[in-house]
Symmetry: C2
Subunit: 279 residues, 2 copies
């Protein structure tokens, strides 16, 4: 419990707080720091297992109640650990209550629609916990770096995202968004590991190298996107992610705090079932 205030130190200031946003700089946040760590890897893993068990119980309650919805958005550079986070944080959670939605490069059909069309169709239903592995935020990062969106188009997308997420929140969806923040050095090591191990070649995409060449442009695009789309109803958190164990614990703590904030309870017992005997 003592750690919880520290989570909010890593929350991106809300976009309408111009003064705070001015001070917010992704480059000042060290991806190697471990604010949520106990200092010992074993203890961190123990904590992660404890949170997993709690999340499992809370998620059952969410499912039983079928009223609220939870959406976790994961973003980050290639190799930042989105897949690994899903695997570790949700290890204890019943797969029945969890839906993981990976968003890849859009298909022609998806491109034929507005950029929110494909994500909207995957939004969580009542009682669901849904994780977006990449998301609509790709559409304000990649095309920005590639110069396919001008400033005005980008600002309009930011606004559309704030409004869309506001509508989801207003309809009973709790949204948290995590940017997994790794250093350029750590990415080099992780890409190299994929190349050095032939059984990992399938994870390697040559386009990852193109994106790596534009590291600074992507960091800038992230900075602008984070500042423009962190809101009270859909806040962004920066997760220092050079340490995988720390990354997992921090995302898990955030999710646990979110679930605890929902004040979940089992639906009231049905009076009509009291004393019923099955034949």
């Amino acid at each position: 419990m003592a750690k919880k205030p520290e989570l909010d130190d890593y929350r991106v200031p809300y976009f309408d707080d111009a003064k705070k946003i001015e001070k917010f700089a992704l480059t000042n946040l060290d991806p190697g720091t471990k604010p949520l760590s106990t200092g010992a890897k074993d203890a961190d893993r123990q904590r992660l297992a404890e949170i997993g068990a709690r999340l499992d119980a809370l998620q059952e309650c969410l499912h039983a109640q079928r009223v609220q919805r939870v959406l976790l958005v994961l973003q980050g550079m290639d190799t930042s650990g989105k897949d690994g986070t899903v695997r570790a944080v949700f290890h204890e959670v019943d797969p029945l209550g969890l839906r993981i939605v990976p968003f890849k490069a859009p298909t022609p059909t998806e491109l034929a629609h507005d950029f929110l069309w494909r994500v909207h169709s995957q939004a969580p239903a009542a009682g669901e916990l849904t994780v977006f592995n990449r998301s609509h935020y790709e559409d304000v990062l990649v095309p920005v770096v590639l110069g396919q969106l001008d400033r005005d188009q980008r600002e309009r997308r930011f606004r559309h995202i704030r409004e869309f997420e506001g509508m989801l929140a207003d309809s009973g969806t709790t949204i948290i968004k995590c940017m997994l923040h790794i250093s350029k050095d750590e990415q080099r090591a992780r890409l190299q590991a994929r190349i050095d191990d032939p059984t990992k070649h399938w994870k390697f995409d040559v386009s990852d190298l193109e994106a790596r060449k534009q590291w600074d442009q992507y960091q800038n695009a992230y900075q602008d996107m984070l500042a423009a789309t962190s809101t009270p109803y859909a806040p962004w958190y920066i997760i220092p992610a050079d340490s995988k164990t720390h990354r997992n614990v921090m995302v898990a703590e955030l999710l646990l705090r979110t679930f605890e904030g929902l004040k979940l309870e089992y639906p009231p017992a049905k009076e009509s079932l009291k004393g019923v005997k099955i034949e």
Copy 2:
């Protein structure tokens, strides 16, 4: 390995083997037997954990290769343990590579289409392991017991199912189907437990009692359905399921054998990546 022949003792004879089908009777299969059990619950759980770890590794390979698809269909009476099976068997499997699709009573939109429409849209893609928690088989059980389908309509649905599954198999999908077989007594105990524990009332649906009253009709409908739709490319297995531990181990063993039969291998290493150094 010594156990494997026993799995096939619980395979429903293929529908075109008239002689064997005549002898097949669900009522002769004791739901309380535990053919796959070691005899000790701890050892069974240990075996389940081992299979889980193997399945996790094999599923990663399936995902890496992105060629084959695996579909597991789970059917069974209320409380037969479909949810519990998913939870136990897939505990070790990476949620990223797993898609659980629950089918409830059809919505008006779903009813406005043919009965295979909603299941087809959820069929596994290349590299996916998909689990149907209930399925198109509900549509040859419920309406049969309720007298909404005449004999001819039912036979046509059986044929449509065989042809549909044949097409999926021909397109690279490996299909296995498990009927979780519980006794009427065991169902009574499980329904009673849901009533006696107010935090489980949400799992209880009054319509379960209606279906229980028609237990024999449902068993007959299952018998006919199993006989008509067990095929070499989409076989049905009866899982004695009064023991939850046994049920989990048996489904896991079946799935493991299926995955091992796929001869999965990581995609070949990319020659072009050899010796590449990331800057």
